[in-house]
Symmetry: C2
Subunit: 299 residues, 2 copies
């Protein structure tokens, strides 16, 4: 796949229509994304905590007969209500509206009435469309896990592989990104995690996939750059998935590419009982819609 | 400044012509860069450890009467010889040829016969020309300092300010980059370093400059993004200098922008007794020439 719009098409092709709980969807871009989802039959919507006059903006648009509203007094309450709706089996997705990600995740992570399984790990996955690149890239974590430990890293790898396979990539190529190709446990403990996961992937522990690293981002995305460095990686300069060492590098990639390489994105938080649609503040309607579409194909 | 070529012009306008020791300049791109430097009168050259038949490639080109050769048996020996030439006052710059950066830096860092002052810190500074951005950006560290501590961070800030001022930026705007705008000492100790430096900059300790952070890279390079987030920074979305939290994020920025945003660069290692011209393996002649030109304006 090269375009995010292909994910939208994939989402439209699903048999069942999931219900998404939209948390405090008071901003125009979230409302527009929900309207698009209703129009294209990608999801039914429960708007949680949205003022009636705001919801009225959607009235009369195609598909809005599949829109419900549930009251909540604050964004935090809306987040808790959305989580409860999932636990009651009434929704299969949660989408963030005009609420801080922290507030939403707090409700999801609540030990008694949240959405985590024991040992579960929440991680942010972005799908990026870069005009000058020949295919979509999956990458993370740019926003949620600050500095994954070995267990979190494995969970992240498994979740990203799952997303890639749902996108139709049968044998995902995973790059474990680092500034160098050297394992240096003393200065960069992450490189030891990488070595471990690369070895286990080679035994088939993570299913059909190619995992390699540590490798730098240029080497894994450009065969010529790999050749110049004399690096012979099975990724062949054509990774599908970029696992960043920590949040700083992921965040810089995400934002720099958006600013300077015209990257378009869809963004999810995976690892809870249901996918969470968590675009950035300031993302446009299309980004929010693509994110929702990507979430549905994880179901 | 918007173009690296303006740095070349600045270098040509200097009164004195420095001498650069080129360490094992056996690759075409380094040789071409040296030929350009000789032709434009930017530097005289001592080629250290280069085989005669390779050096002969430059014979007859303009300015090669200002080219000398000094013998060395290995790249490591060539690095030591270049360092010795600096200590003898015979060269004012060192440029890396076909030698690993580690090998060159080892000679520079040698306690007895290297080029460091007590307490000195080596840090990598890149000057990037991004076609879609309105001016050159200085940033670091993408290659040398893995994870600066507070003292190294301050040294890095001072060295980058010096470079910016030499480029004619009287009041450099410095962004201390982090994935968020929050100081969170527990999870991100770097944010406490940032807070300290921002405070000290405000008292004038680093001369005329504007230092702000922690802030994310989009906020410091795009006024609209800052406004959407409600962030009111004196950088006004127009930073001159990006200080990255650690090497992973710097390295990803550098390589991703080169790959996907057609960024051109000049790269130096600052903090030794003389500037070190340290381009990446695989950089082209122009990049190596721009790097050398940038080094001369630090003199």
């Amino acid at each position: 796949m090269k375009h995010l719009i292909e994910i939208d098409e994939m989402a439209r092709g699903r048999n069942a229509t999931p219900v998404v709980a939209a948390v405090w969807p008071e901003d125009d871009s979230t409302l527009n994304a929900l309207a698009m989802a209703l129009e294209h039959g990608i999801a039914d919507v429960i708007a949680v905590g949205c003022h009636e006059q705001i919801l009225a903006k959607l009235a009369g648009k195609p598909g809005t007969e599949r829109l419900e509203a549930v009251e909540a007094a604050t964004p935090a309450e809306a987040a808790s209500v959305a989580v409860a709706l999932v636990r009651q089996g009434k929704t299969q997705l949660i989408m963030k509206g005009l609420v801080n990600t922290d507030v939403l995740l707090k409700a999801v992570l609540n030990k008694e009435c949240g959405l985590m399984e024991p040992g579960g790990v929440l991680t942010h996955v972005t799908i990026g469309e870069i005009p000058v690149h020949h295919k979509l890239l999956l990458f993370g974590d740019v926003a949620v896990l600050p500095c994954p430990n070995a267990e979190q890293r494995e969970a992240q790898l498994r979740l990203m592989l799952r997303m890639a396979r749902r996108l139709g990539i049968d044998r995902p190529r995973v790059a474990m990104v680092h500034c160098s190709e050297k394992v240096d446990e003393r200065h960069f403990p992450v490189t030891a995690h990488y070595r471990d996961l690369v070895g286990r992937a080679a035994t088939g522990e993570f299913g059909d996939c190619i995992v390699d690293g540590p490798l730098d981002i240029k080497t894994v995305l450009n065969a010529h750059a790999a050749a110049v460095k004399g690096i012979n990686s099975p990724l062949q300069g054509d990774a599908d998935i970029l696992v960043f060492p920590e949040i700083e590098s992921g965040n810089v990639f995400y934002k720099a590419m958006t600013l300077f390489a015209d990257m378009k994105t869809a963004a999810l938080v995976c690892g809870a009982r249901v996918p969470l649609v968590v675009p950035s503040r300031g993302d446009d309607s299309d980004t929010k819609f693509h994110s929702l579409a990507a979430a549905t194909i994880l179901l």
